[in-house]
């Protein structure tokens, strides 16, 4: 399903804890979107030629009875997200999407552990819906720096069979990182799949824990993107390529890697496929092997 460009009317922008949730009329995108995919957003009529900004799709209302809407959740960190935070209903936003490779659900019903960090939890709700529709059990682990940066834990509780919460400062749930409860949970829930979205260091750690437990793990990464459509080679990260002939190496198992465009082959990758240390995030799967090289 090829992506489309849509000029989307803003239905609503509301605060959710430390974040903003933006609901847009986007029939084409709402029709085609799959969990883990993202949109490239251009807001405002600024003439300084700002690049688009990528955001995960938090959820969609498929067109039909409704007109078809897509929702994104964002944190204000700079000019682009500030422009989004100034949007009012009826303003128009320019979107490209759905972009990128989505999460792959298991072929057979299986237990799925969804691990979200900060706003990274947002796309996992979309995923949880799809997994449950496929009769998979869904358990949630969500973490953030502080309680207000946990995105909508209530919803996670509603959607999940169980919910574990961690915060760096202990202001909510257990004090610590999302990875702390992971080994227990994997054992207890007997999950056959791990799906994670959040900051890169967290994704590296989750991938390692899952690999150690022998559980397949898919992660949605965040790399800087100029185009989001595969044409600029800005968003690359090193992934392993068994038997690849090109230069360079550094994969988890020391096998060759290549620079993959995360907007095209990602943002969802197999966590064990990413050369985390080479990517600048030691603490990924089998780091000793990487460091050994």
């Amino acid at each position: 399903m090829t992506p489309v460009r849509e000029l989307c009317e803003v239905l609503e922008r509301r605060r959710v804890g430390a974040y903003h949730a933006l609901t847009l009329v986007a029939p084409g995108i709402a029709e085609a979107a799959r969990p883990g995919q993202f949109v490239q957003v251009l807001a405002g009529d600024d003439r300084s030629f700002p690049l688009r900004r990528p955001f995960s799709i938090h959820r969609v209302e498929r067109p039909g009875a409704a007109m078809g809407t897509a929702e994104i959740v964002f944190d204000v960190v700079g000019p682009g997200t500030s422009a989004l935070a100034r949007l009012r209903p009826h303003d128009v936003v320019d979107l490209l999407g759905p972009l990128g490779r989505p999460f792959t659900p298991p072929d057979e019903p299986a237990g799925c552990l969804l691990v979200g960090g900060g706003y990274g939890t947002a796309p996992l709700f979309f995923l949880a819906g799809e997994l449950r529709a496929r009769r998979c059990r869904v358990d949630f682990v969500v973490g953030a720096a502080t309680a207000d940066r946990l995105f909508n834990a209530m919803e996670a509780r509603r959607l999940g069979h169980s919910l574990a919460v961690t915060t760096d400062d202990g202001s909510a749930g257990r004090r610590g990182l999302v990875t702390d409860p992971l080994p227990d949970l994997l054992a207890r829930t007997g999950a056959g799949r791990v799906y994670a979205c959040g900051p890169m260091p967290m994704l590296a750690a989750v991938s390692r824990v899952a690999a150690d437990a022998g559980v397949p793990c898919q992660v949605a990464v965040e790399e800087q993107m100029a185009c989001g459509t595969g044409i600029c080679f800005t968003c690359v990260l090193p992934v392993t390529v068994p038997g690849w002939r090109g230069p360079g190496n550094g994969g988890p198992g020391g096998e060759p890697t290549r620079m993959a465009r995360s907007c095209l082959e990602g943002p969802v990758f197999d966590g064990a496929e990413i050369a985390w240390t080479e990517a600048g995030y030691p603490g990924g799967p089998t780091p000793e092997l990487e460091l050994a090289r």
Binding site: T2, P3, R5, L42, R47, S48, F49, P50, L51, R52, L96, E223, Q224, A226, C227, G228, T229, G230, I231, C232, F233, T234, V236, L237, R245, G246, P247, G248, R258, M259, L264, G280
Partner: protein
């Protein structure tokens, strides 16, 4: 007033004067879902080298006022993989292909040209003599007329496809470089590549690009690019020029055609509008009709300015 957008670029007929610039359209395949590749004036591929290149570390990009810096570092799968996959795809899609070549020596350029000489799908060659994202400034052949000419000669010896030499504005005397490559056999010129620039993250107190410096592109550089085309078109009348730099709208493209470009290439503009190449061409058609011009080639004669 009926308008025919077709132009002749170094003996090759382009359906429109609007191409996709190298490195800003991938290898074309990625955009097949957004535009009909056969309808474009042409696609200049990401520059290909003899061996695959990994490119530079990330971050590779930084947004700047009305532009961006990039330090991609010429990542590409190498000419063999390019021919096996990308070129075949483009041929089947009916695209007009301008293969951009990059090498570390005139000899490498020559071997690349030799490899592509037998590829009918390649309509033109563009020699990237001007990428700022290289380890040594010495690799920026377009900063030295003699070196640049040597590359062109090496390529012409091993290929009879028409050749565009892509130059940089980061030189003291652009006309001298242009004259040197034309005398060496270049059939046309592409002006300009990115300007060498740098941006600083003052909070973290470090460069915003992992490579420290990178290439500046986008509307910010358009006035420099237009000036370069104006200068060279005046000094070397009759030499076809592909104008590149900050083109986002049809009006931007018209600036280049008026000052003497035969065609234009849209680069960074594709990142914001994946249909930019098509929409700029459509806008040019309206512009030409409005100006009473039957084809892009008529514009320079309608431009009022003394040199």
């Amino acid at each position: 007033m009926t308008v025919d957008l077709a132009v002749d670029l170094c003996g090759v007929r382009l359906k429109t004067p609007v191409l996709a610039a190298s490195g800003c359209f991938g290898f074309g395949r990625e955009m097949a879902g957004w535009v009909d590749l056969a309808e474009l004036g042409g696609i200049v591929t990401k520059s290909v080298s003899l061996e695959p290149r990994r490119g530079r570390p990330t971050p590779r990009m930084a947004e700047t006022p009305s532009g961006m810096l990039n330090a991609i570092g010429l990542q590409n799968p190498g000419v063999e993989a390019f021919c096996a996959t990308d070129l075949r795809f483009l041929a089947e899609a009916g695209a007009t292909v301008v293969a951009s070549l990059v090498g570390r020596s005139p000899e490498e350029f020559g071997r690349l040209a030799a490899r592509l000489a037998g590829e009918p799908a390649v309509a033109l060659l563009e020699l990237n003599l001007s990428c700022p994202n290289v380890e040594h400034r010495g690799e920026v052949f377009a900063t030295d007329p003699e070196l640049a000419a040597e590359v062109v000669r090496a390529v012409k010896r091993s290929s009879n496809q028409p050749v565009l030499a892509k130059l940089t504005a980061d030189v003291t005397d652009l006309v001298a470089v242009a004259r040197a490559v034309v005398d060496a056999g270049a059939d046309g010129l592409t002006l300009i590549n990115t300007l060498l620039g740098m941006a600083v993250d003052v909070g973290r107190r470090r460069p915003r690009l992992a490579a420290a410096t990178g290439g500046l592109s986008g509307p910010a550089i358009r006035p420099v690019a237009v000036r370069c085309v104006w200068q060279v078109a005046g000094a070397l009348p009759g030499v076809p020029i592909v104008g590149t730099g900050g083109i986002v709208t049809a009006a931007d493209a018209a600036e280049f055609l008026l000052v003497g470009a035969t065609a234009v290439a849209v680069g960074t503009g594709n990142f914001i509008n994946p249909r930019a190449v098509v929409e700029v061409a459509a806008g040019l058609e309206r512009y030409l009709a409005g100006q009473g011009a039957g084809s892009p080639a008529e514009l320079p004669a309608l431009f009022k300015a003394e040199r």
